[in-house]
Amino acid sequence: MLCQRCNNKEATVHLTKIVNGEKNEVFLCEECARETGQLPFAGNDPFSFQNLLSGILNPEINSYNTGIKQGDKCGTCGLSYYDFTQNGLFGCADCYETFNDRLNPLLKRIHGETVHNGKVPQRKGGHLRKKRQIKELRDEMKDAVKNENFEKAAEIRDKIKELEDNDGGE
């Protein structure tokens, strides 16, 4: 079969696009496929999130054009939110903190949810659990002090110290 675009070369790229459940087939030569962005050099799916992100974030991009705050950059890797809207990729783990405010609506749109509900790493998860435990003990200690139960407060204080020491030694 010949390429549907140039009608000249052999069509080697067969694309099946599914838009709203409807299937469309396109046959292109490799050159035409690249030229029309159907077969990007990066090898990305033309319907991938990266390519759709600009669309999703249109209001954001417009607000950039009218001047998003300068210095709106991740302090660790230097990525700006505008950079992020261009390729859809974060630069480092700290980007999640840096762009914290804007992530909830974005993640909600992608996943329908905003809170992780799956596996927790064992080592780091242990640390998180310990952090939660310490926080609970601190609240208990405050209550004990308020009730002038100083003996109990001291006991809890020692327990907290023990937990914190262990944590640092990990």
Binding site: T16, G21, G43, I110
Partner: protein, 349 residues
């Protein structure tokens, strides 16, 4: 080396045509995206930073003794060999292209692959034949735990495993099955199936290439969402949808046998005839014909060919495999000739 040896050397575990529900499900795959806490993601990292990531992952994997994995530095690997790994689905097409400090760990039967410095620092993949998502997940999760003993993964209490792309945040899990649905295609039911599947939070795409063809009626179905649902829920959902699709495809095959028997038999035998006698076959045409003949074997219309052979041929007839088997680079036309030779030799073996 005989052709048999060459084929055996090139056939990975998942291509064996075995596993549960193998007349419809070719393979099950689990992928986990993981990143090291204090390193920039590959898209922002310098050559040295990527080197540091490679080094840390190599150390972590080498220090565990449970799983025997071999490291391949992709920069040291000829392009053709890298393409071979792509055709076997062991690395992604993006990972096969030029770039610093890209590597992959593989086990002996190529069931496990761990990509280093792909879109994320680490992509753990387990690929098994047939429908066995639970076993596949367990192995991937075990490998994840082994690595986590040595590496601090970027993880947030709220958002889970942090990844380079926000579509992977949370579980970092992509579960998928590769299904062969020729009867749903022949009965024009594929569109309906695709719509239904997308409403259930799953995506469907053709195999071989992100954004490429779905020729040979082979589709890959995977979860769309990674945040807010547990790994268990994601896998259970894909499992139950897969079982429904298997049921639908079986019904469509039954219908074809009852209502269109002579047309179907004719189509399958013609395909078998072309595979056996053509002088040149393009990879697209080969996929379609192989798909028809595999259907013929699965439906009992062709009974003198081992069904494993057709699953194998789906991969062996891809361009990099044809060139590898012939030991040299070939033009498209040469490949088409060698492809039909290979198919004919293999069908007689």
């Amino acid at each position: 080396m005989s052709l048999k040896d060459i084929i055996n050397n090139n056939v990975t575990h998942w291509i064996s045509g075995e596993g549960p529900d193998n007349e419809i499900v070719l393979s099950s795959r689990i992928r986990l995206a993981r990143n090291i806490e204090d390193e920039p993601y590959p898209n922002q990292a310098s050559k040295e930073e990527k080197q540091s990531v490679s080094k840390r992952v190599i150390e972590a994997i080498s220090s565990q003794k449970q799983l025997k994995l071999h490291y391949i530095n992709l920069a040291d690997m000829p392009e053709l060999e890298r393409d071979l790994l792509v055709e076997k689905h062991l690395i992604s097409p993006v990972h096969a292209r030029e770039g610093y400090e890209k590597g992959v760990f593989l086990d002996d039967n190529e069931r496990i692959s761990v990509m280093i410095n792909e879109e994320d620092h680490i992509r753990i993949q387990v690929l098994t034949p047939g429908l066995q998502l639970d076993e596949t997940w367990e192995l991937a999760s075990e490998l994840d735990d082994l690595l986590e003993r040595k590496l601090d993964f970027a993880f947030s209490e709220k958002w889970g495993y942090l990844s380079s792309c926000p579509t992977n945040v949370g579980t970092g899990l992509r579960a998928s099955v590769m299904v062969h649905l020729p009867a749903l295609s022949l009965t024009n039911n594929i569109g309906k199936m695709l719509t239904a599947v997308s409403k259930l939070g799953l995506t469907v795409r053709g195999i071989y290439g992100e954004g490429s063809e779905s020729n040979g009626s082979i589709y890959q179905i995977s979860n769309q969402v990674t945040l807010g649902h547990s790994e268990r829920d994601i896998i259970d959902n894909l499992n139950s949808v897969s079982k429904q699709i298997i049921g639908q495809e079986k019904q469509a095959r039954q219908y074809l046998l009852q209502e269109k028997e002579s047309e179907v038999i004719d189509r399958i035998r013609r395909s078998f005839g072309i595979l056996n006698f053509a002088y040149k076959i393009s990879s697209d045409e080969a996929m379609k014909l192989i798909s028809n003949v595999k259907l013929g074997i699965d439906m009992g219309i062709i009974d003198n060919v081992d069904k494993k052979v057709l699953s194998e041929l789906m991969v062996l007839t891809r361009p990099a495999h044809i060139q590898k088997i012939n030991g040299k680079e070939l033009s498209i036309s040469e490949r088409d000739i060698k492809r039909s030779e290979l198919i004919q030799t293999r069908l007689k073996m």
